[in-house]
Symmetry: D3
Subunit: 280 residues, 6 copies
């Protein structure tokens, strides 16, 4: 399936699997390397989501990996992500800070993307796979997914977001610390039980289909409502209740002036009339 | 059953179902409209909880809806909650901010109420039902409850508290975003599994009874201990651990001077002697 | 089993149950009093964890209680933890603030300890047992454990950390408020279901063994990775995502300069070679 | 001068000294008691500012005291502001918390008032005078003003806002702590030098006139711009720069849709044409 | 004077006025329009500082405007900064949020720039001039500078940073609100007295010379020390003291491993030996 | 003058210069080394203030240096404050973090000390002198004091508190960054003008005398009021206004129950009767 116009990348495949539904399917596309991330991959990853965020023709996004073997095996350690550099420890630290910061920025673009993102985890989903999944809004997994916060096993603390986000995403810190400190594998079923993913399906295909169905449903709703809901939930997670209520009232003071509320209300009372909502 | 003296409202029924136990039962009382909220309803709702909060004769509260059909169907959209107004977008925004703020304030009175509040969800519990339930301390549900964060379906992002509070109330953000973005129904059982409610009972009656039993138990304990526990848990939720520990030590530096500790200790060692605690 | 050299305490037993594995086993050692805490006990408790934190020979810690009857029954109320004092309410309050603060500090040493701490709950685990468990990184429980946030029953709001930490540790605030306001018992199984503990085993022995196995696994990994992971997860819990990402990049800018990454990578590609990591 | 219609109070005089300018002059009106505050006074004080905040006919406010002798001498200690009550220390504390909270709320209404407030300090301006002045946007003082954070001299820490706000209002914490800990008098000139006030005039009349002139100028500008500026400065004071920038962009995304920008721009290019702005 | 290699811009002139000193002079270069900012200008402005931040050959920066007439007259209102767009208010709001956010990002690049930035205010310095100056580390002004937070006069609240930053930059909020609400002009002398600028010189030339001298001095010091100091001061401004101390210890745990400390110490004891520091 | 009983230190001299006034004078006592700080000195420094904080016989503190030549010349760089250690950069970083943290803790004890601390700066007051002065409540300086944030000149960013606290202590960030980035000397007069100190006196003796007079005045007031004022001002500096108001009401709910308010009020109305206040 050809890439959406304007989305030509080497390591990212962006398609329109349900034409007319305003859903984009973003796939990590380096199957020969188990979809591992070199620097080139993460720069493209950031670029895709920056673009999607501003593309009024896309209203919901599904993310998965190309192929049957992996969502992603994580960082491509063969590609020299470590800044060799010379100079003393402080000078090497500056280089590393810059490199980590750039990597974090690219992955965070998925969280900042103003459209809902549904992440499909499948097969090998290690290390960076979890960092990425933490930036999605909704996570689904195929039954056979092999998940792990693997970083401790290569001698480092995960630095692309898992440790910053996982404690806010899953309710049990005992479980969070168990998997982060031990680097042990956990199954899709375990991920479901602790709430890391919210659905498990039999295989990758079925999971992708479930994700696309969900994306289509969301994309059919008012984008003012959907994008506002995403923004306000993210704000609520990181701020006190009082601050979040105030922000909500400022945000909605203009959102409620959209044509979407009367359009949606009309369809509530005439359920056979599907509302249409202008692009946003 | 007659309203408690001093609690005369048009849309709120406040009774004393277990005389002598210091438990108030607050019921949304507009069954002909599925307990939907017009502005008059939410003003009364705020007023009830402001009063309960300062009423030393009430030590715990149960909230439910009158009738079998609904806890509440949400906002009464026929009652013009939208500020029509004229003027440009900024001037309409000011009106909307004021209206949303007033509504938030009224619902938040339940969270600010210094007495524990147990919310019984039953039958139709849509939209605003979730905003309200998020302000309760403990949530129970009847088996047949029909729950949904419905706002997206009427073209808006929920603005009376669900998006500010739900991410802090339930452990799985994947589930939170699923139900908030899709506006889909979820059952009492699903609510139990993700931890949104902590008990499910067979029908409304049994759930109300379980809630009243729980309220009676709590109301029988030291109000200094109970109200302090509520305050400190809310503080802990919205502040760093270090700040919460400090606040706790300041709070308890006077609470521990109450007569309640010796009274409670005495009964621990003589279990047949039920302690009595002064009003607070 | 003799105490580790340098760890001689009256109420704390610190042993090395798996020699060569860098795992310390800290046991509350006052079985005749159900491991209840007097002031002398909590001062020693703080002291142990301050020492462990800086001891490069210890890489992971397991905590439990001596004997079959209790992890701990909580505060030893017979030992006058209440500051009697004279003077007016404000002067007594200063004394109480100081005493609570000291107690909080001692218990918090376990949270601040830079090594992962695995807490084994068993038998009677009331009140303070929960405050302590909240400071651990990972919680396991024996099947027959009797758990309760008991403080309300002795007329006070828990002030040594449960109310500050539990809302951030367990995903369901409805459950948190239920157990904190009602002071009711809950079982190991219930604790598992809500995510307070992450494993339940048949009896105390099996649970301790599971905890030691877990500790040995963690202690065999890079201490730079493990201690950094603990630090960054704690930081992520108490700070916004943006702040946590920034802190992570600063932290890892030097951690990545350790010899541990190449050592760990080498072993990834030669799985039969177990990496060794220098002390930290 | 008669009170503005709708502003009938016993202890507050609200006039319209510059008809047609949309400026309200609020005066504390209890000169026989040096404008000291009993509970009745502070309840009215809160009520005035709540009303002004929502009154589209008022665009700027000047606050001063009636008479030559005092802005205010502070709390009317003869009026039993201390909650006598009986019960133990914890129960008296609850009463006091309620009373302090109510008092703080009333004074804070001036800060929350959406219109700019200019405070004229003159003659005796002790204790509560500073709490009140801290809630104003701009402070002017007459030359002979006698200022002091007097609370320490009556045995208490100021609790109506001075200690919460002064460190954020004046640049020198050394000076702030000096005047708060010593309760010493300071002059208008000293207040000017440290930046607590921004203008000093020869006497009360001249200061009031300067304040009214300033209020008239501000009231002539776009209320969308003026009220937004007040809101965003307050937000900037209490939040990180990143959060404040984000909030600003959301706020202005609707404010910029007002008719005020084109109206103001038109007058910039035709300076003889005074723009008029719709009420807000 | 020719632009530094690699710094070719249409509206920004970047020179090396003190060769060998590692000081860059960035000048806003649109004198025919009083250095007013169109979108093209602010995009270049952001680009310059992003580049400078990562350029190890630049250790300190001076910013001023080309020509004698203006630092900058602010936004070029003739260049359609308002997003006309169609659609309802919510859709126009999304466009405006995006535009404001982009503008804020570009100006904030100066604050984020890891090298110290000294801003020279001179002649017309209105509106955006203050937003920009607030992002500098140190502000100097020529005697004749005409300063104003002008936005209110064109019907809007300043949204590119002044309102978010000024309350944290200048000690007197009374003064801050005076100039922001009234949009009145203030002089270099007044700016000096309130601490907005820290030096005033006779004319633009002398001020630029003073700024360059200061930049040369700073650029001669250890860049590890200088850039760390900037980072930690910014962090200290936006965070609690406890958090800032912790961040400082993590930051310096690697910075102190630089060769700069011994190099600097050597020169302290042999004052005739000027230390040299490696690039950073 | 002999040390106060119980205050025997090698490098700290603690005296009682105004017997009966409850004022302690703490002097850094290593004049032969210009009062420079080795590790032994800072450990004692922390110990003194921890003790003073809990000593009910001390109600206010003055800090200065022994001798005419220096308050302190800063860190004793000859005493190996740098952790040499071996191991890789990450392991050295852990040692440095520990060392910096310990040093910060010791200096911060002065800020945490519950009694007001007045710092007298005189003669050489470099580097650490500013870190220490930032922890005092009130700062005075002798005319000839030579002040500088000197750390940049020895190749490091100040890490014992100056960068975390100075931006909150002085109103002009332009000045703060100037002195921190340039490491230049500034005079007592300049310190006065920017508000870093609040009084300048002719020489050390006169400054100490002024500080002692101020301390005696403060020590004569209600310690409940004075210590509460210090606590609440510190809280106000680091928290939002809303949080600070809430904390204030909880704090004062018990403080107002002290006997100090009636005692102080009695003396207000009978000015010849000096109130006495119980120890705290």
């Amino acid at each position: 399936m050809a890439s959406l116009p304007g989305y030509d990348y080497e390591f990212m495949l962006v398609t329109d699997p349900r034409p007319g539904s305003a859903v984009a399917h973003v796939q990590i596309n380096r199957p020969g390397k188990l979809n591992a991330f070199s620097r080139a991959v993460w720069l493209e990853f950031g670029s895709v989501f920056r673009r999607v965020s501003g593309d009024a023709d896309v209203r919901a996004v599904v993310v998965s990996g190309v192929g049957e073997r992996a969502f992603t095996a994580g960082l491509d350690v063969g590609e020299g992500f470590v800044v060799e550099g010379d100079g003393d420890a402080a000078r090497r630290a500056k280089g590393l800070r810059g490199r980590i910061g750039e990597f974090q920025e690219c992955v965070s673009e998925m969280e900042r993307c103003e459209k809902p993102v549904i992440c499909v985890l499948h097969a090998i989903s290690l290390g960076l796979a979890i960092d990425i999944a933490c930036c999605a809004d909704i996570r689904l997994a195929a039954k056979d997914t092999r998940l792990a916060v693997k970083e401790v096993d290569i001698g480092l603390a995960a630095d692309v977001g898992t440790l910053a986000r996982l404690p806010k995403i899953v309710g049990s810190t005992s479980w969070v610390k168990d998997v982060c400190l031990s680097a042990r594998d956990f199954s899709a079923q375990e991920a479901l039980e602790v709430g890391f993913v919210s659905q498990v399906h039999d295989d990758k295909d079925k999971t992708v289909r479930a994700a696309l169905d969900m994306a289509v449903r969301i994309a059919g709703k008012s984008p003012v409502a959907v994008q506002g809901t995403k923004e306000l939930l993210n704000y609520g997670r990181d701020n006190s209740t009082a601050a979040a209520l105030r922000y909500t009232s400022v945000w909605n003071s203009v959102a409620l002036q959209a044509a979407d509320v009367p359009a949606a209300l009309a369809s509530v009372f005439s359920p056979d009339r599907k509302p249409t909502f202008e692009k946003l």
